[in-house]
């Protein structure tokens, strides 16, 4: 294992004051969008700046998070998993227990309140695994706004139960047939819809990606994960954790957990989807194998060809299958503050089954990537140390993949 980042030298002393006024996380981020979207981004920035300091807005948000979303989510001491590795104590931040089964609702509930305050009548969103689509359709149903979700046709096949949930919630699910028919193309289609209906529509982007102010805005609504975990671990263990581990696709659950700890002496590991290999088209490990470029309105690490064409990502997990990554992660990687690495499809599957059998918790395939780093990390830890893993979602949507895996294992026996 390469050495984690505790001693990494960085010239940055305060990681929490990004982005700057222009939307930059050092050299990453920005606002690389056609002029048509500029008025909407400015309107959004103005509304966000005002409302995040508005008592009534924050009270409503807090009430929704408590009574509708079910927060705070537990910080669960995984005794069996801890015993299995026999080293550091492992805690799971149970975002899988939030309403709709993943952390995505933290963001959608915040953004729908923003949309309502801006007087928007219509909501659009992209979705990969369908978790963000479901979380968006859910809040749109609750607040009575028209909702259209863009989803790649390949993902619709992989995550069909979520398609049915979105439809039951009253959303229109538009299958995207362009490009790779996955998350990146669903995002393209959502951006095109927004360009066309910019006056009436708010785009609830699902991760800490896209043009400014989205990365900062989504972080604002997701950082509650880390704020709660920080308080809970001090209460339960009497100290801060030594390690934080989270999976990274676009990176919203990871930023949510990491952000409140960025200036603490805590090591952080972002786990990317290593797929089936290290070559092109074999993985979705943007920070591990990509290089900076401009995509979906931001400058960030990107999987791309030498010519600057965006490369098809691959992962067994539809929620990690994205060729870009949030610009704040690009900064955290470049500065050495967070260590990013990739685990394979097979390692993620093994980790999902290990957690299920030991703790009775079926994790989402995305979260299983974070869990899959434990066998590599734990041998280097001591019993006095603490690891928090973000269990970002539950695995119901992945049952088809898990069942196939079990059947394959049966045949091999």
């Amino acid at each position: 294992m390469s050495t984690p980042n505790r001693d990494a030298k960085s010239t940055i002393s305060n990681f929490t004051h990004y982005p700057d006024d222009a939307g930059y996380f050092d050299e990453f981020g920005g606002q690389f969008v056609p002029e048509i979207l500029r008025p909407a981004l400015e309107e959004l920035q103005a509304a966000f700046s005002k409302l995040k300091q508005d008592d009534a807005f924050n009270r409503t948000l807090r009430e929704e998070l408590t009574h509708y979303v079910g927060r705070p989510t537990p910080l669960y001491f995984a005794a069996n998993l801890t015993r299995h590795f026999g080293r550091a104590r492992i805690y799971l931040k149970r975002e899988d227990l939030a309403h709709t089964g993943a952390h995505k609702i933290n963001n959608t509930i915040g953004q729908i309140l923003l949309a309502r305050a801006m007087g928007k009548r219509r909501i659009i969103a992209e979705t990969g695994a369908g978790q963000h689509g479901v979380a968006t359709a859910t809040v749109a149903a609750k607040y009575g706004l028209e909702c259209t979700i863009y989803m790649g046709e390949e993902d619709m096949e992989r995550q069909y139960p979520n398609v049915q949930r979105m439809r039951m919630l009253g959303a229109t699910v538009v299958g995207v047939t362009s490009g790779t028919r996955t998350l990146k193309d669903a995002t393209n289609e959502a951006l095109r819809d927004w360009l066309t209906n910019v006056d009436t529509t708010h785009y609830i982007i699902g991760s800490v990606v896209g043009p400014h102010p989205f990365p900062a805005l989504v972080r604002h609504f997701q950082k509650i994960i880390g704020e709660e975990a920080r308080e809970q671990i001090q209460h339960q263990a009497g100290k801060l954790p030594d390690y934080l581990v989270a999976c990274v696709g676009g990176g919203s659950n990871a930023i949510g957990l990491f952000y409140p700890f960025l200036n603490d002496d805590v090591q952080m590991i972002g786990v990317e989807a290593g797929g089936i290999g290290t070559g092109p088209l074999q993985h979705a490990a943007t920070l591990t194998y990509g290089r900076p470029g401009v995509f979906h309105g931001m400058r960030t690490y990107l999987l791309q060809t030498a010519d600057g064409q965006v490369q098809l990502p691959y992962s067994i997990s539809a929620g990690l299958d994205y060729p870009g990554v949030g610009p704040e992660h690009s900064l955290l990687k470049k500065s050495g503050r967070v260590q990013y690495l990739a685990v394979s499809d097979a390692e993620a599957l093994d980790a999902a089954f290990l957690l299920t059998r030991l703790e009775g918790i079926i994790p989402a395939l995305e979260s299983a990537h974070a869990l899959a780093y434990l066998p590599k990390l734990l041998p280097h830890t001591t019993e006095a140390e603490i690891v928090i893993v973000n269990l970002s979602g539950r695995g119901d949507k992945d049952m088809q993949t898990y069942i196939q895996h079990m059947e394959k294992e049966q045949q091999n026996k």
Binding site: A22, F32, P34, R38, P39, S178, G179, R192, D307, G308
Partner: protein
């Protein structure tokens, strides 16, 4: 600034004519078609061409240009190849050429190198819709050094102060999208937008042309009445993909004539 482009625009407008330009994705429908298409557009009297650099994720484009981009990439179209085509075209023609595309392929090529190689190939200007003014401003020295025009876009939802800013900094002309949306939508010239364009005359003193979704002589006529000219993109791509290579010169002449009723 490109003298060739600026002088051509001034001469055309001074003579009471309107500008008529065409967008075509480079390397579409096949690589062998690009040079013949440029030559045919020149012969048909088009004022300048916007030659598209294909990109994998063209967020401001509708299905027609998306498909053309995908096809061009599959055909192996790259920025160095596009610059070669322009250089070849330049040996026999002075029709201005503007490269239009998304930022990332240009960034990966290197902005300074891109500007220098554009100048060498005989490119006159660039339009990069996802490179906003705030980002482009720092790059202006490169554009200036290479005599390249950097053309900004505005839309009917762009606020007046922003329009004035972009009009002040755009060189050659201002590109106006006919509506808020993506390229190639089937929308008539609405009264509200024609009023917006007519009012621009009072606000800006650079030439401005209208693009997005233009496919009929009637639209060209209506937009010419309130602007300095038009760009036709998706409609040309839909047309050209049905033409065999050998008939490109005649077909292009018929297409241009059909939209402009010009005699050349």
């Amino acid at each position: 600034m490109s003298q060739r482009l600026r002088e051509h625009i001034q001469r055309t407008l001074a003579g009471g004519d309107k500008l008529f330009s065409v967008y075509i994705t480079a390397g579409f429908p096949e690589k062998a078609a690009t040079l013949p298409i440029l030559q045919a557009l020149d012969a048909a009297g088009v004022d300048f061409v916007e030659l598209g650099i294909p990109f994998s994720d063209p967020i401001a484009d509708g299905p027609t240009i998306q498909a053309a981009s995908t096809r061009a990439i599959e055909n192996g179209t790259t920025l160095p190849w596009i610059l070669e085509q322009v250089a070849q075209f330049r040996r026999h023609s002075q029709m201005p050429i503007i490269l239009m595309g998304y930022l990332n392929p240009v960034l990966q090529y290197g902005m300074e190198r891109f500007c220098r190689d554009c100048q060498q190939a005989g490119v006159d200007g660039v339009i990069l819709p996802d490179l906003p003014f705030e980002e482009a401003h720092a790059l202006m020295p490169f554009f200036h050094a290479a005599d390249l025009d950097n053309i900004y876009l505005i839309a009917p939802n762009t606020p007046p102060a922003r329009i004035r800013l972009l009009a002040e900094h755009t060189t050659a002309f201002l590109y106006c999208t006919a509506y808020t949306g993506v390229t190639g939508a089937n929308r008539a010239a609405e009264q509200q937008t024609t009023q917006f364009f007519a009012a621009l005359r009072e606000m800006v003193d650079v030439p401005y042309i209208i693009g997005f979704g233009i496919h009929s002589a009637e639209q060209v006529h209506r937009y010419n009445a309130v602007a300095d000219g038009v760009v036709v993109g998706s409609a040309f791509i839909r047309f050209i993909q049905q033409q065999p290579l050998a008939s490109i010169p005649d077909a292009v002449r018929t297409f241009v004539k059909g939209l402009t009723q010009r005699k050349h």
